[in-house]
Amino acid sequence: MITALFSSVEAGLLYALMALGVYISFRVLDFPDLTVDGSFVTGAAVASVLIVGGVNPFIASLAALGAGFFAGCATGLLHTKGKINPLLSGILMMIALYSINLRIMDKPNVPLLQQETVMTIITKAFQRFDQALATIFPFVPKTWAIIVFGMFLVAVVKVIIDLFLKTEVGLALRAVGDNKKMIASFSGNTDRLTMIGLGLSNALVAFSGALISQYSGFSDIGMGIGMIVIGLASVIIGEALFGAKTIMRATLAVIFGAIVYRIVITLALRVQFLETGDVKLITAMIVILALVVPQMVAARAEKQRKARKRGAAVASTQADYESV
């Protein structure tokens, strides 16, 4: 059980990068970008093929990040220059990427188990540390390497995003999602900003895909299916549990959301009658619940507030009568 939770935190941290990408498109740019299902695999494909080809896994992962950036820019181009609506631009890009990913991998599945990956390298580097820890916590799993690396990486990416969104370009990017007409009247090139934003978003998604493929030991053409919903689930769960008052708070919430999501799925799969194939259904349910419950809670609070007001009004008129 602890081992299972431990690995869901590991995976959660790596998926958090993807969720941060989704946060940038959905929340910052207000652009529902479905490219994610494709660009996640693009990242995995690029990294795996390069690693198999003998490239340093760190460089391969950065290459994946670059590939994701281009994929995102392409979606942005479809929307801004091609005047195609956001959802359709993303879907078109997602479909196109399916074929492109297959071309990159040359087959539906690239195994990485025999390869040196980012994960094997850091695990090796951590060996001493792990041995020391094993004497203190004998019950925990084989390595702390991935969790420590994941935390470090996610923290760095989070801080970079937080800082970037406070720069002049970052402020303009946020304004595109908030009020396009306004930013255009202050010399902001909304087309270019949209492309940059989607590029950054998908760069993170592809980077996450690259790391996940190295973590799980393969890339697969189908590994991106439903990824956008997982990303959304992380964003929504995070915001619901931890709030999103400021950018710094929101990005932190998204990271925790991604981890909580993994834990929930892990726990759900322990339930007897649920099978691995049910994961997507569970994910959809989580998103639906996370979207609907806050509305119901708010509606209920409103109703109670009104009822209380009415009660108070009745009471005060009664008081008036009594005083007469």
Partner: protein, 267 residues
């Protein structure tokens, strides 16, 4: 002295060649001297907003040229042209980003004339500057730098929009009924602020308004539009002497005679 803004033979037709064809502007000519403050009046659909949109680059004219400070900007994109132009819209929601703070909005406005970089939008030095500028509004906004703009009232937001459009000293300031959505007290506040800001900065300004009183009191020039044309213009002493009733009479006289000439053509 060089003209600041020149409109040469601007024509704009919407939905050309269809049943919905609408001639919004017909051969409009207009020249502004530096420091001119022009109020524009005219009935609904006269083409006032279309004219503003063509100057700002939101719409492209079918024929004609837009020249700002001697530079032909007719084909320049809206965002590039914004380097010369400050704008305040009718809708108080339109000019600011509601989910961003007051200081972040000001930082965005600050970059209207300066290329955006990867430096922080709000620095210590800029924050001081923003505070000083906000203080000139006398609304206490300088103490609410971290408040989200969406929390401000319509009047406060419009005052902020006005400040954001002007504190970087645009070549041309375009105001399209920017007090129309406000209650009378707030409209007066914004009108007074407009007068103060335009005068202290000597901004070349075009202001569309439905308020005749306002049109007569503000500015050194007045333009009346109808049916996509400028049908009446007054400046200098002539403008000073204008009253609301004389303006209305003028309007009826011109409209009447035009109506008569249209009939003459038909017959």
């Amino acid at each position: 002295m060089q003209l600041l803004l020149q409109l040469k033979q601007i024509t704009k037709v919407f939905n050309e060649g269809t049943l919905d064809e609408k001639v919004a502007l017909k051969h409009v000519e207009l020249s502004l001297q530096p420091g001119d403050f022009v109020t524009i009046i005219g009935s609904n659909g006269a083409g006032k907003s279309t004219l503003m949109n063509i100057i700002s680059g939101r719409l492209a004219p079918d024929t004609g040229e837009v020249v700002i400070d001697g530079k032909d900007v007719t084909t320049m994109s809206e965002h590039d042209r914004a380097r010369y132009i400050g704008r305040v819209f009718q809708d108080p929601m339109a000019g600011t980003a509601p989910n961003m703070t007051i200081e972040e909005n000001l930082a965005i406005a600050y970059n209207r004339t300066v290329k955006r970089t990867l430096r922080f939008g709000v620095t210590k030095k800029r924050r001081e500057f923003f505070k000083e500028t906000l203080a000139t509004l006398q609304l206490g906004l300088e103490n609410r730098l971290h408040a989200k703009v969406g929390l401000l009232s319509g009047g406060e937001r419009q005052a902020l929009s006005l400040l954001m459009a002007t504190f970087t000293k645009p070549h041309v300031l375009l105001l399209d009924e920017h007090t129309a959505a406000l209650d009378p007290a707030r409209a007066k506040l914004i009108t007074d602020l407009t007068k103060q800001i335009v005068e202290t900065n000597r901004l070349t300004t075009l202001m569309v308004t439905h308020n005749m009183e306002q049109a007569v009191q503000l500015g050194n020039r007045l333009i009346m539009m109808d049916g996509g044309q400028i049908i009446f213009e007054a400046s200098g002493d002539e403008k000073k002497k204008l009253t609301v009733s004389s303006l209305l009479q003028e309007f009826q006289r011109i409209r009447g005679s035009q109506f008569a000439s249209d009939r003459a053509v038909l017959v």
